[in-house]
């Protein structure tokens, strides 16, 4: 399955995922604490500079990922004009774009598996409550079944379109759900037959 990791190799790809996440958090806290042009402008330029090693491709991908924020930029402009401080609205728009762009850069330069490994490491103190193997199994199951359910949904939409000129409606949610619940029951049996989710034979039913 396609993830958003950028195919363009940058030096940031080689940094450990945990370090990038920690840096991003610190950056986010600092930027959210400021409402002045100098710190926010500096932060924006810094993020832009960090995108540069990826060249034009990475910049374009980064810009595309910011595009869905336009309704918020528009709302900020309207509210800013309403409150009589449009400059402030522009500044907050820049702050929003800077933060999301920085977060997107971390996502684009970190592989899905590396990020999941960080989560698994962070969840280790919870081991008595949540066995690490079960968490890894849950991640693997979802990664496997997201394309399956997307495919099921797409087929149901096609079946709908073959019969109706109108847009597929909410009715298709029910068959999607039924299919998923059947797969869930079958996979549970299959897992149990293979020694259970924790890899130990004789997994208990609950």
């Amino acid at each position: 399955m396609l993830t958003l990791t950028s195919p363009v190799e940058t030096p940031w790809h080689r940094l450990p995922a945990g370090a990038k996440l920690a840096a991003l958090m610190l950056f986010g806290l600092l930027v959210m604490a400021s409402e002045k042009l100098l710190p926010i402008g500096t932060a924006a330029l810094l993020v832009l500079a960090l995108y540069l090693p990826g060249g034009r491709l990475l910049l374009a991908q980064g810009a595309r990922m910011l595009w869905p924020l336009w309704p918020f930029a528009l709302a900020l402009m309207v509210f800013g004009w309403w409150d009589g401080r449009p400059g402030h609205a522009g500044l907050i728009t820049l702050r929003m774009l800077t933060l999301v762009a920085a977060a997107n850069l971390v996502t684009m330069t970190t592989r899905l598996t590396d990020m999941l490994a960080v989560f698994e490491r962070l969840a280790r103190p919870l081991a008595p409550l949540l066995p690490p193997r079960r968490l890894a199994m849950a991640f693997a199951l979802v990664i496997r079944f997201v394309p399956v359910m997307a495919e099921t949904t797409a087929r149901l939409r096609d079946a709908w379109r073959a019969r109706s000129p109108r847009r597929p409606a909410w009715h298709i949610v029910m068959p999607v759900l039924l299919g998923a619940l059947d797969i869930a029951d079958q996979s549970a049996d299959a897992l149990r037959a293979r020694g259970g989710a924790d890899g130990s034979p004789g997994g208990k039913e609950s």
């Binding site: 958003l4 999301v100 971390v106 990020m115 079960r134 979802v142 029910m174 759900l177």
Partner: protein
């Protein structure tokens, strides 16, 4: 135990499929994305604990970079944007909805619909609106005004969650873990 694990994983996958599919039509023809409908269904179908875990699992995979958020988005970006409060509120929404469905003795459809209104609108907006006001540095009233445009759609989704859960209770009573 295997059964609750696979149900959690499959509902997380359903949530992803509903979130990324192109818009669907509600009654009256209003097009919407179905993410919050999926969150409501996680609660009504799986119950409090498993519904919460299913939505959390979905969020973690999206956070890690699997493109499962509305419109095929993913990663850390959405968690740092103005809608972050809604994302973070999703698991709690499913938890509250599941808890309510487990507790009431109302017929399952009514229980699911009412719980979805309380959780999917009450709880979700309670976490989404203040976060939006903070990120965008606007007043709570302005953020509420912005989110108000989603209210009619969310009302209809809550009703649909009730209808879908009721027909699921008929078709697969054993799969409705919230009332098992």
């Amino acid at each position: 135990m295997e059964r609750s694990l696979t149900h959690i994983a499959l509902m997380a996958a359903v949530l992803a499929a509903l979130a990324v599919m192109p818009q669907i039509a509600l009654p009256f023809g209003v097009p919407i994305t179905a993410t919050s409908l999926g969150v409501m269904l996680c609660g009504t179908v799986l119950g409090a604990r498993n519904g919460f875990l299913a939505v959390l699992l979905y969020l973690l995979l999206g956070l890690a970079g699997l493109p499962v958020f509305a419109g095929g988005k993913s990663g850390i970006g959405p968690f740092m944007g103005p809608s972050a409060g809604f994302l973070i509120g999703y698991p709690i929404t499913a938890l509250v909805i599941g808890w309510l469905v487990e507790r009431t003795t109302l017929p399952v459809g009514w229980a699911a619909g009412a719980a979805s209104v309380i959780g999917g609108i009450g709880v979700l907006y309670l976490s989404g609106i203040p976060a939006m006001a903070w990120v965008l540095d606007i007043s709570l009233a302005q953020a509420a005004f912005y989110c108000g445009s989603f209210l009619p759609g969310d009302m209809i989704k809550a009703v649909l969650a009730g209808v879908i859960t009721a027909s699921l209770a008929k078709a697969r009573p054993a799969s409705l873990l919230s009332r098992a």
